[in-house]
Symmetry: C2
Subunit: 357 residues, 2 copies
């Protein structure tokens, strides 16, 4: 379970149906209007936004794929006795610090303005802690689902996230995908699952109805999370991303501090905060912090669909790199799944809806 | 190996590179011109041709899927001691008889005309025996490949036929598929293979280079076969399909007669021609004869791509029906593969090239 909290950071910022409704009714229409405005700018700005989008997507892909490799590496190198709650806290704190560092650089260069000012209104900041609270709901479910589903089956069921993200993206953010892009999205889900097939995967078919229900609820929570972050970040497109990140992460710091007090207070008091940390632990914390920031960037400059593609391709990259690093054997299922995912990426790009003028 | 000869009837009519070249240079251009002419007719005729195309495709799908079920059924019901060569001969003879019966009905109704006359020129009939000869090359290879590849791996490798058919269809018949249809074709191959995955499928990755080479050559022969039949049938679009079938099958009758004399002469002489035949054997012969005719019809009124889709969907249908008939268990890989194949069928139909006026 180490780093599950951090690994599932896409579920960090979940949201309640109520909030989504109020968001979609109130502010998303303005976000949509802005997005339309942005896309119609075109020219030099459109090109630079395309470049930015590519860079953050590539960064997310590379960071996510090295994430899994670091986890394998840390397991191979022996068991680390660090506390998971302190590691999670460190990740959130590091993200806050990095956002502040980037902000101070902006302030030095361009001065403090309305868009990059850290102070905020209650109206803006009120939605930011909700993800942190809702994350706990999903984290709690995660412990219960293992009563019905074993670990390999859980890995398979997690691919439902892909479908739920697509559906919620369509329903809540009201953004359209073309028919070919929908087909590509189904293929992405099927391809990722195929690539992960192993002889015990068929267990998933024996999952009891409670297991399915919980897996679907978790997928919906995870999908909501992604869509929610995109909604609150895109709600104020001109707002500096580092300010938005700071407010997103500061609640992570607070909630993880609470978790340390509840779960690991004695251990931290007796052994110290950084007990059991190694070089790899530090690398993992750094990697998770940077991936978290990359996710926010993708939400700001691209969208949830791009994020899902990026993390799916990262999963395949991880497996390929593992062949060289850990003598990992690729299965036929992996090749077939990778082929389907590659075709899906291709179809997603050729299937773009023509912008309606 | 029972019925391998009949099962692989798509490889029945193979062709030599030389013939293909001369065909594509000489007559295919006229076949293309006719096809373009047909497609531009539109209206009532276009609608009825679409209906005909659907009916023959559906027939092929149903016949092919019941084929595999009959094979399982015959195995369950015990081992039959019939000779494979006499069964193959019976299939070819039955196809000839059915073609003649259909022809005589046409002659009674509409009289004998140029298009439905059985007599033919050397120029027309000279290409028909080539498939029967080339089939033997593939049949021979089929015995040798098992020195390098085991049976489950061979099943997997047979899916290379899908790719080879697509490539040869493009190169030899010079027909175009859209980019999305190409993507769909790759998905069809990946999906069919995924659906057939089982714990021993990974053996295929250990296939030695000789095995791969032979599998590729066999896939090319099989692809050539399909494309060749389509070429000779479409070369004379106005020619009655039953005349074309008669000439196609009569060489099958002759070659199978030779095979009986070489392999089973003593057995047939001592035990009789129909020794060991049961009700299921007769059903299988009937089914194979009708499927063979359905393949010719699909070649005439649709094309190789439709045939490949039809037999792939049949493979999935067979598995689903087997759940009810034989308590067959469907694997997760089957569901994933079926999803990919379904999306592929959808993409093939939405991805149609717009006809250029």
């Amino acid at each position: 379970m180490e780093y599950r909290r951090v690994k599932d950071q896409e579920s960090y910022d979940d949201l309640s149906q109520k909030d989504v409704e109020s968001l979609s009714g109130r502010s998303l229409s303005s976000a949509n209007a802005t997005a339309t405005g942005l896309s119609s700018v075109g020219g030099a700005k459109g090109k630079s936004s395309w470049k930015l989008k590519s860079v953050v997507t590539l960064a997310l892909t590379l960071l996510t794929s090295s994430q899994a490799i670091l986890i394998v590496w840390s397991k191979r190198a022996g068991k680390y006795e660090y506390s998971v709650t302190t590691a999670n806290f460190s990740v959130e704190a590091l993200k806050c610090l990095l956002s502040l560092a980037a902000l101070s650089r902006t302030w030095n260069r361009h001065g403090v303005a309305d868009d990059n000012r850290l102070t905020t209104s209650f109206d803006e900041v009120s939605v930011y802690p909700i993800p942190a609270i809702l994350y706990m709901v999903k984290n709690l479910l995660q412990y219960y689902i293992f009563a019905y589903v074993d670990a390999p089956a859980y890995q398979i069921l997690k691919n439902l996230n892909i479908i739920s993200t697509g559906v919620l993206y369509r329903i809540i953010l009201k953004k359209k995908l073309s028919e070919i892009q929908w087909a590509a999205f189904i293929l992405l889900c099927a391809g990722c699952t195929t690539a992960q097939l192993n002889p015990s995967s068929d267990h998933v078919l024996q999952t009891p109805i409670q297991g399915w229900m919980m897996a679907i609820v978790m997928a919906l929570l995870s999908g909501f999370a992604g869509v929610y972050i995109e909604a609150i970040i895109k709600k104020r497109p001109s707002r500096n991303i580092n300010v938005q990140n700071f407010w997103l992460y500061i609640f992570g710091v607070i909630f993880n501090l609470v978790a340390i007090c509840v779960q690991d207070y004695d251990a931290v008091m007796n052994k110290g905060f950084f007990h059991g940390y190694s070089f790899i632990t530090v690398l993992m914390i750094l990697n998770h912090a940077l991936s978290g920031i990359a996710v926010s960037m993708v939400m700001k400059y691209a969208d949830n669909i791009v994020k899902v593609y990026s993390t799916s391709v990262a999963m395949l990259l991880t497996a390929v790199v593992s062949v060289f690093l850990f003598n990992f054997h690729l299965s036929l299922a992996f090749f077939l799944g990778s082929t389907v995912v590659s075709v899906s990426v291709y179809l997603h790009s050729v299937g773009k809806l023509q912008p309606q003028k």
